[in-house]
Structure formats: C-alpha cells, structure tokens
Amino acid sequence: MRLEARQISVRFGALAALASVSLDVQSGERRALIGPNGAGKTTLFNVIAGELRPASGSVLLDGRDVTSLPTWRRARMSVGRTFQRSALFPRLSVSENLELAVRRGALGGRRRAVPDRLAAAGLSAVAERPAVSLGHGEQRALEIELALACEPRLLLLDEPMAGLSGAERQAALARLRDLPRSVTLVIVEHDIDAVFAIAERITVLDHGVRIADGTPAEVRADPRVQEVYLGRS
C-alpha cells in the first residue's frame, strides 16, 4: 500500500509538533523514520493511523484521501500499527489478545489463525497467561504480533525494539525481514543498527520538521543529520 502524507501540521497548544511534514512511501517499501526525542515521530504515526486530526495537510492511502476517516476504518483498509508503549489487553490471555486481532474488528470467525500466530511470535508457551503477566520481551513480541495478525498492507512500527535484549532483538528483526513485499513498512527506531539493517530509505525529523529524506548513505552523509545526531550528544 502506498502512503502519502502531505504537508501535515499538528499543534499542541503553542508547540508545533509537526510543521508541514510530508512522507511519501512506495508500496512495499521499507522506510525508517528517525529523529531525536520529541521530534514528532509518534505524532506523525497518530496522524497516519487516524488517532489525530492534523491542523492541515492530508493523508492518502493508495491515492485515496483518508484524512477524515476514523482510525477503525483505516485499520480495516489494512493499516496496522504498534505502539511505543505496549498497548495490550492486560487482563485477557495472550491467545484472547490475538483472537481480537485476527478478527480485525469484525465478529466473524478466523479464530483458527490464532495458534499459528502464537507460534510465529514464539508465545505458544504463554498462550493462556494474561498479557499483563508477560515479561517485557514477550509483551513487545505480542505487541508486534497484534499488528501483524491484522494482515496489514501498511505497517507502522513505533520503536518495536525498545528495551529488548540482544537475542530478542535479533528475533524481532528476523520477523520483520521475513515480511512479504505486499507489506509496506514504516519503522520508528532509535537503534541505528536495526534501522540500517531494514530500511531502504530514511526520513529524519527534528522538532517537527523534516530535515532529511533519502537512502541510508545519503542520510548518513547529510550535514544537518550529523549536526542533530552528533552535534548535540
């Protein structure tokens, strides 16, 4: 699915969280969205997913303007997302969590897909435990699997690797690499190695402004990016 976010602006009071930011992602592309804390990455995801209405600008999916569509409608158009802070169903079991996801907002069947999903995420052993009782790594794995279980064509991943151990990181990376090309991937991630391992193009935000956009090599060479990343830290 092709994603075009055109000149998106979002304000929180006096703060311009996004100032006319555009993002154009081709169908099947792997795109990384990076930037320092508070750059507006999550905010942009919220706009794309439908949780936030931008003050100006528009969001197009496969050329269709969805700016005024609610989140659930966009989800049914195959937009899947993960949250920076795991957004699970704490008191429901892991398999109940996934059951809600495979139904994709409808009440029909498809529960049969749940065991496969559990296996793919490596969560079969904890299937009957409430999500709240999982360890951080397992929660992140479930977080990603909830999004994948919807069979998205556009997948927005908000710092999926945050807080994972080395081994868990590798597992998550492998899972993302295996995604078919029918899935367009936009990933926000602070782990630069992971970014360069996955991304074909990188967009850099800072203070709500897009400061770079290009191939990994271009972005790495960009003086403004170097200033933001090196100059400050």
């Binding site: 989800a75 949250f83 169903f89 429901l92 109940e96 809600l100 996801a101 909830l146 919807c150």
Partner: protein
C-alpha cells in the same frame, strides 16, 4: 455453581417457611436481572453507569402507562414493552453518554437518569407525579395460574409469580452469558482493557459501546417491567439515583466481570434491605460499611472468595 444456585431456587418454595421468603426471593431475582444488566456495562464493558435506574424505571413506567393496551398481550407483552422502553431511552442517552469515559461517563449517566426522574416526578399529568402509576396486573398466564399448582403444589403458598420471576432471571442469565461469551462480548472486554488498541485493530468502538449500553438498558427495562408487574406500580423512586446506587452496590459487592457475582450481590443487598431491616433501622449503615469494606479489601467482590482456589484468569 450456577446449577447449585438454580437447584436451590427451584426448590425454594418446597422448603421455605413462609410466603415472606418467597417474596424476598422474588425481589432478589428481579434485582439480580437488573444487576446482571449493569455488570454487562460495568464489568465487561468498563462503563461505570450511575444512572442505570433510568432504564429500570422506564421499564416499569412502560407497564404502568400501557397496561390497558398490554393486558390483552399477556405477560410477554409487558416484558417486551419494558425492554423496548429501556432501549428507546438508552438510544439517545447512550449516544451522548458513551462518548465520555470513566468518571465523566459516570456523571453523565447520573445526570441523564436524574433528568428522567425529574420528568417522572414533576410531569404529573403524564406520569402520575410522586404517586406514579398503580393497578398494574401481575399478568401471570392463565395456565400457570390454574395448572401450576397442580404440577408444583408448593406454588399454592408461594404464588405463581415466583415462577415468572425465576424464569425471567434464568433467561436473562442465559442471554447475558451468551452475549458475554460471544465475539461481541470479547470485543467489549477488549475495549474495556484498551480502547485505543481496539480502534487500531479496526473495531468501531463507539458503536460497540453504544450497543452494550442499549443491551444493558434492555435487560434493565426487563427487570423494571418485572418489578412493576410484581408490585403493581411504577413510581419515581424506581428511577431515582438511590436505585442506581443500590444496583451498583449489588454488582460491586457480588463481584464485577461475573454474572454470577451480580446475582450473588443482588441476593446480598436484598437480604440486607428487606430482612436485616426488620431487625435494625440501620441497614443502610450496614450496607454502606460492607460496601466500603469490599471496595477497600475485596476488589473482586464476594464471588472472588469462591475463586481463590482456582484462579480463572
């Protein structure tokens, strides 16, 4: 456990010492239906309504207002009218209230319910004012009236309405159990746990919440109709916020997220209200103290005492 409870209730007229206990049981059963309907909203949907009496009262008033027309249709017509009244009131109220969450939802439901109460209380020409409406027939079907006692001699003392109340309660339990176990019920729990995620998964959460609100109101209306038939009247106190509070106490004391808990709570509240009150004037103090204790020390309610051994989740 539901089976044991059912057995006790079915056999009640055989071993009960008096008609009095049957009447306590009837009122407990009615409150149980009311409490289960609130539990759908509060326990499963995570929507703490403090105005559920609006729909209970609407159910009663529908019977009061329409009984000349409904009498021909018999018991089912009354019960259906009660449910319909609940639904009709819940659609506009829910459409507005469900947009709010948590405390705001609680206050909105309370306010809307008080509005309904205000109308019933003051609009005397239409609602009968403080007096409400009386003379509602029990509408026990003829065959039950006549044949029931032959089949089940105990009914001679218990009165045939016990069968009506028990049947309504059992059907409501079955219906609400089916709803909570259905994909819809699961989705409702998902919304309670994490509404944002449910939206992101493609669930139109507003509609789900509104649907739950309306279904809960329908069952509350059913309970209200049953109480109107049993007592023969509809009056403003059935709509007052004390009634909303009482049913909330029943659900919390019994245990949320469990229909059986709601039933248990309803029996507890009824016994305190009707039985203990004949020994002491201060049943409200007792009820309040128990309620406070449960809120503080037993968040899972009475039902969680039974669960301690075999944790369900």
């Amino acid at each position: 456990m539901p089976a044991v409870l059912l057995a006790v209730l079915i056999s009640l007229p055989f071993w009960t010492p008096s008609r009095y206990w049957v009447s306590v049981a009837i009122q407990a059963l009615i409150l149980a239906v009311f409490a289960m309907s609130l539990d759908l909203l509060l326990g499963f949907g995570g929507m703490p309504s403090f105005g559920h009496a609006a729909f209970y009262g609407m159910g009663a008033y529908a019977c009061g207002k329409l009984f000349p027309q409904l009498t021909g249709g018999g018991l089912l017509a009354f019960l259906a009218a009660g449910m319909a009244a609940g639904v009709i009131a819940a659609l506009p109220i829910g459409a507005l209230a469900v947009r709010a969450r948590g405390i705001y939802f609680l206050m909105l439901t309370l306010a809307f319910a008080q509005m309904v109460w205000g109308l019933a209380f003051q609009w005397t020409s239409f609602t009968g004012g403080t007096e409400g409406m009386s003379g509602i027939p029990q509408a026990v079907p003829d065959w039950l009236q006549e044949q029931g006692q032959n089949v089940w001699p105990a009914l001679r003392t218990a009165g045939p309405f016990y069968v009506v109340a028990l049947t309504v309660a059992v059907l409501a339990f079955a219906g609400l159990t089916a709803i909570t176990r259905s994909p819809f019920g699961r989705a409702l729990e998902g919304i309670r746990e994490n509404e944002g995620r449910m939206r992101a998964l493609g669930y139109p959460t507003y509609r789900y919440r509104l649907a739950a609100f309306v279904i809960a109101a329908a069952f509350a209306g059913l309970a209200g109709a049953t109480t109107a038939l049993y007592n023969g009247y509809a009056n403003p106190s059935q709509l007052y916020w004390h009634t909303s509070g009482l049913v909330l106490i029943a659900v919390i004391v019994g245990g949320t997220r469990s229909l059986l808990g709601a039933v248990l709570g309803a029996f507890f509240v009824t016994i305190v209200q009707l039985v203990i009150s004949s020994y002491t004037e201060h049943w409200q103090l007792l009820l309040g103290a128990v309620f406070i204790a449960v809120v503080l020390f037993l968040p899972g309610g009475l039902i969680s005492l039974g669960r301690l051994g075999w944790l369900r989740r």
